[in-house]
Symmetry: C2
Subunit: 254 residues, 2 copies
DNA sequence: CGGGTAGTTGATGGTCATCAAGGGGGGTGG
DNA sequence: CCACCCCCCTTGATGACCATCAACTACCCG
């Protein structure tokens, strides 16, 4: 797990297509996460700047691409798949600090070294920006800075919620909170999907995220099933049968 | 604890002193935390803008001044004392997400409501900025935005460390980490103080910060004393006798 | 078919929460 | 000034929750 070679990329540089009139068209215009990501602050006129700076990278499941403590050379924007962010203790204990889904920006760090590791949960595509190019973009597009501040503030709020969960919630409350969070995250605004969830991560990842063990997560899910709260399908499918019951649990009633 | 009236200020507006030549001098020029706080990005020429926007507020120990969930009307900059930031569950369980010391900026939130509560640990002085005035400052001083992003990034790193602590460390490891953090925070660069610490917060606060109970914190400190790691003085004084032993503990060896 | 990974379930134990009692300091009021 | 109270802290006894150890199933892939 920790002896896995990290920072190995399968990169393919963006192709810049020169249009008939000399105008540049490129990947970014058709990027599916552009509307919801930080990239949206850069207007159509300047989008070529973005494309030149970005390198699309595909990362297979389980592969690490940010190593905790390594020099922070790049920033990333997730365009598909799910990334787990984590910190580890010398003896191998691991805490997943968050899951990054499409549209999320990775690498906010003042230090010259990454403060956390990152690993692909399923197949992940990211846009990679070098530190230098990112700095140029920040200088030229002040809006980008404001957007990143927003992003950071949101993550800060999420982190505070997670601290409350880790410090003060019971196992049942943690799992309930997790399932509800996943439900909200998977729901595009105005869309219901009958409580059906597809969790890309393993029980081990969930455990490392919630500060529990695999066994406790498994037992808790089984207990929730026995209470008619959820249905546990094959693979990574879970269906929430009673949001209300989970809400009661997550808010802190045993 | 939760029925305490919050958001009660003892404010005194900044006095703007008009100098002989018509130049404005004011509190901000003599502010002791200016060099280390976000305010430092606003140069001497524009400092009057800052002073006009800020209201100095004194908060007595134990008084809350940000209520979780209340409309986010103001931002704060701590100028002296220590503030605890926290989130709570309906049944009263509480998690302190951080302690803000002089120079720290509070209120980063995209939402219209505060995501956390804040309460003075000892006597606290803050500079208060209304949301509107802060927005004006952000528009006029782009550097301020970059500085806030730095601030947020640092807090994010701290939050990730705290998640690792809460999710994966034992009680002893937590207390050791806490003492070392406090030591580093209290050491001005290039200054040693013989491991002597003055913790402004109670055992209860420490417990709520570390995800433990008062009793466990107390027992753990007693155990560390019995091991010759620390000395527990009267009041809130603690002396670290062996940084090395605490380091071993904090890194994760029992 | 064999091996590896992921998940579930059971038995047991350890760590830390809970319940309880007592000490010490600081404030207020008699 | 001292009594009284309240808060904070400490220490002890007990127990609950969850980690650990272990066995077993299912599934995937060669």
């Amino acid at each position: 797990m920790s002896d896995m070679p990290s920072c190995q990329f399968e990169s393919r540089p963006r192709r810049i297509v020169i249009g008939a009139g000399g105008a540049q068209t490129d990947f970014c215009t058709t990027c599916s996460v552009r509307p919801t990501s930080v990239c949206s602050v850069i207007g159509p006129d300047d989008i070529s700047r973005l494309s030149e700076a970005a390198v699309e990278t595909i990362i297979p499941p389980g592969r690490g691409f940010i190593e905790e403590g390594a020099p922070a050379t790049d920033f990333f924007n997730v365009t598909s798949g799910t990334v787990k962010l984590f910190k580890a203790l010398p003896d191998g204990r691991r805490q997943i600090t968050g899951f990054a889904s499409p549209g999320h920006f990775l690498g906010l760090a003042v230090s010259d070294n990454y403060a956390f590791g990152a690993e692909a949960v399923d197949t992940v595509r990211v846009c990679r920006f070098s530190r230098d190019k990112m700095a140029d973009l920040l200088d030229d597009f002040p809006k980008l800075e404001r957007r990143l501040l927003e992003e950071a503030s949101n993550e800060l709020v999420a982190a505070q919620n997670q601290m409350l969960l880790l410090g003060r919630k019971t196992a049942r409350e943690r799992v309930a909170s997790f399932l509800l969070d996943q439900m909200h995250a998977s729901q595009l605004p105005g869309q219901e999907n009958g409580g059906r969830l597809h969790l890309p991560m393993t029980r081990g990842d969930i455990a490392d995220y919630l500060g529990l063990t695999i066994e406790t997560v498994s037992r808790t899910l089984s207990w929730m099933r026995s209470q008619g709260m959820i249905e546990v399908g094959k693979g990574y499918a879970i269906t929430i049968l009673s949001v209300a019951k989970l809400d009661v649990l997550a808010a802190g009633n045993s």
